[in-house]
């Protein structure tokens, strides 16, 4: 039975802020099959292509038939908790700070036995449901959940280490002018964020939804023009130390590629708003977030980017925009590596065309802004890193995995 977490008190300014420490991060190359599974919220194990045996941990040969053909495959999640161990004085600095810490052995219904972190409601001899999670080192670990929903389940201390749950956290949504931004604010408030700061550029320009945004309790509108280095730095000077989750809802979509555009001013705007805006935000807010990765219940936890799935494969109809998104995708991997020492996740939410004005002439299916907002909250609560929202994004992902060249030709047809 989990006690609900309580809203953290204001910090005692006489105490030093605890620096983040990392759990062990060494992994074999084969083990990154689990990293991929954890990033996407899938449960995958190695399975022998020859005899069908599921095995764990990651290996280079099948323990049953010695075949070298082991592939990661989605696996049944159910198992039984064989035994649990509570570590009271771990040797590792990271876990020592978090002791007591429970781990256990789970016998999977599909065969192998896993060493796993345990949700507090898992009991010995009872069924559990497994997932792979990214821990504070950014690497995959197994996590056992009770078979059924239990009270205050998401407040479990060990589970919260694996996630970036918005509950009692302070969030910055960078663009409150966009519908996606406004939906994200509402969804994050509903998920228990204690305050949502909402950036509004050029406050002298009125915008749709402004009154409703101002009316939400716990929402604070702040001046933020992410294309302007100083505006971003000024805001970080005010609130940089209390942004636990940053959701970059920048939206600058323009149709067109290269040859039918005159001049470069539109391209430049795309780069300024998307890529340079990202750089400004990262330089201004990143260092404090990395430093606050272990700062209690409302530690800095996650950075969310909303990216077009065409960051992965150029869509010439929106070709220059696709390229700006590809630049942001590349930068997100850099940010991910640089925030990792703080245990702060970088979540990329990939979408197909959104149901917004700038994709007006694009036929459906289009992604509703509310669906993007729900995906953001869900990814934070589950601790995911790569999320594909909607049919188009999922379709592109699968086609890319099958044949990237075909995707290039088909998008450019």
């Amino acid at each position: 039975m989990i006690e609900p977490i309580i809203k953290p008190r204001r910090k005692n300014p006489l105490l030093r802020t605890r620096l983040p420490t990392s759990p062990p991060r060494a992994r074999s190359r084969a083990s990154h099959g689990f990293t991929r599974a954890a990033a996407e919220g899938r449960f995958m194990l190695q399975r022998c292509d020859a005899c069908g045996t599921f095995c764990y941990p990651a290996r280079d040969a099948c323990p049953t038939c010695l075949s070298a053909d082991l592939s990661f495959a989605d696996a049944p999640r159910r198992g039984m908790l064989l035994s649990e161990t509570t570590l009271h004085i771990p040797a590792d600095v990271h876990f020592r700070e978090r002791a007591p810490w429970r781990v256990g052995l789970v016998a999977m219904e599909c065969g192998p036995t896993l060493v796993t972190h345990l949700h507090a409601d898992c009991e010995e001899g009872r069924p559990v449901v497994m997932s792979f999670q990214l821990d504070k080192s950014g690497q995959a670990v197994a996590f056992a959940h009770p078979e059924r929903e239990t009270p205050n389940m998401a407040d479990d201390r060990q589970w919260r280490e694996m996630t970036a749950d918005p509950k009692f956290r302070r969030v910055l949504v960078t663009n409150g002018r966009s519908i996606v931004g406004q939906e994200a604010v509402a969804a994050l408030k509903a998920a228990g964020a204690s305050i949502v700061f909402v950036g509004v550029a050029e406050p002298w320009k009125p915008f749709r939804g402004e009154d409703a945004l101002r009316a939400i309790e716990g929402v604070q509108i702040v001046p933020l023009d992410i294309g302007d280095e100083k505006s971003v730095a000024d805001l970080a000077a005010d609130i940089g130390g209390k942004v636990d989750i940053l959701v970059n809802t920048t939206e600058h979509v323009r149709a067109g590629g290269l040859l039918d555009r005159q001049g470069t001013s539109v391209v430049r705007d795309e780069i300024d708003q998307s890529y340079l805006g990202f750089v400004h935000l990262a330089q201004a807010f990143g260092p404090a977030m990395r430093m606050r990765g272990s700062d209690g219940v409302n530690s800095a936890a996650a950075w969310v980017n909303i990216l077009s799935v065409y960051a992965l494969a150029n869509w010439p109809m929106f070709g220059a925009y696709s390229a700006s998104q590809a630049a942001c995708l590349s930068l997100s991997h850099c940010l991910r590596a640089e925030l990792r020492p703080g245990g702060v996740k970088v979540v990329n939410v990939f979408t197909g065309p959104l149901d917004i004005e700038w994709f007006q002439t694009v036929p459906p299916p289009k992604v509703a802004p509310r669906a993007v907002a729900s995906a953001i909250v869900s990814a934070l609560k589950r601790g995911l890193e790569d999320v594909f929202v909607g049919d188009v994004a999922e379709d592109i992902r699968q086609r890319l995995a099958a044949n990237p060249k075909a995707v290039e030709r088909e998008l450019g047809a």
């Binding site: 050029e202 406050p203 002298w204 320009k205 009125p206 023009d225 302007d228 280095e229 001013s265």
Partner: protein, 261 residues
């Protein structure tokens, strides 16, 4: 004027006998700029990026890189800015005659009307009434429209509604008349443009741009401190940056006015 006269003038500036009034807003990223429908190209906003500030990027010096559109902040419009002035000689900021950069001004105070009506339009009768008290507007003078708009907060200053901006400016007849009948050197306002916010619905659209630039005259906008100028007798110094074939530029606009001394 002999050199004595010029030295006398310099002395008067130094002593305060000639007062220098700054008519310029600070060039900053958050000052409103003209808004066009998004499908048009947009004026790049003012951006100030620090290169170094006595730090690792430059231990002993502070400097910035700047980007901005030609029509940002307090700025000057050259004839080449509008299609009506595109074929005139010397119509860009780098070629316009430098003597035009110093000229006297007539200041028409319409602050009371603008306070009552954001869409106030300056008309010929308003100026004729002004001329009754102040005399006929001489040739090659600036006409500056005082509305006290520069004293507003930025949201009210831009005053954007769902049918566009609502800010005061001139009507079409008065612009044609100022150019053709009064031979003004230019027209200046406190608002974001020389034209009224709703001037796209006048005939011709944007008459200040249409007639001023078609007649080879200039525009000044985003001016402030016009309330410190006398109706006549001030001299305006407005020298735009010498941008190659530039259509306009942010600039420092100074007014020289008779002081107390």
């Amino acid at each position: 004027m002999d050199s004595n006269g010029l030295m006398q003038f310099a002395g008067a500036v130094a002593s305060g006998a000639v007062r220098v009034v700054d008519l310029t807003f600070t060039l900053s990223p958050d000052f409103p700029v003209i808004v066009l429908p998004p499908e048009f190209g947009q004026a790049a906003p003012v951006r100030i990026q620090q290169i170094s500030r006595y730090d690792a990027s430059g231990p002993a010096w502070y400097w910035n890189n700047l980007t901005f559109g030609e029509h940002t902040g307090t700025h000057f419009d050259a004839p080449i800015h509008w299609f009506t002035g595109k074929d005139l000689p010397n119509n860009a900021v780098d070629t316009l005659p430098v003597r035009d950069m110093i000229a006297p001004a007539c200041v028409i105070d319409c602050s009371a009307q603008a306070a009552k009506d954001a869409d106030f339009l300056l008309t010929i009768p308003v100026i004729e009434a002004w001329e009754k008290s102040n005399g006929r507007i001489p040739e090659r003078h600036w006409v500056l429209l005082r509305t006290d708009w520069s004293k507003k907060g930025w949201r009210d200053y831009a005053n954007l509604k769902d049918d566009g901006a609502h800010t005061p400016g001139p009507d079409a007849a008065v612009m044609r008349w100022l150019v053709e009948e009064r031979g003004v050197i230019g027209f200046g306002t406190e608002t974001i443009g020389t034209d009224a916010g709703q001037a796209g619905h006048l005939d011709p659209p944007y008459p200040a741009h249409h007639f001023l630039h078609g007649g080879g005259r200039y525009g000044l906008q985003c001016l402030c401190n016009l309330d410190q100028l006398p109706p006549t007798g001030a001299v305006i110094v407005a020298a735009p940056l010498k941008i190659q074939n530039g259509s306009g530029s942010p600039l420092r606009v100074l007014a020289l006015v008779p002081g107390q001394g």
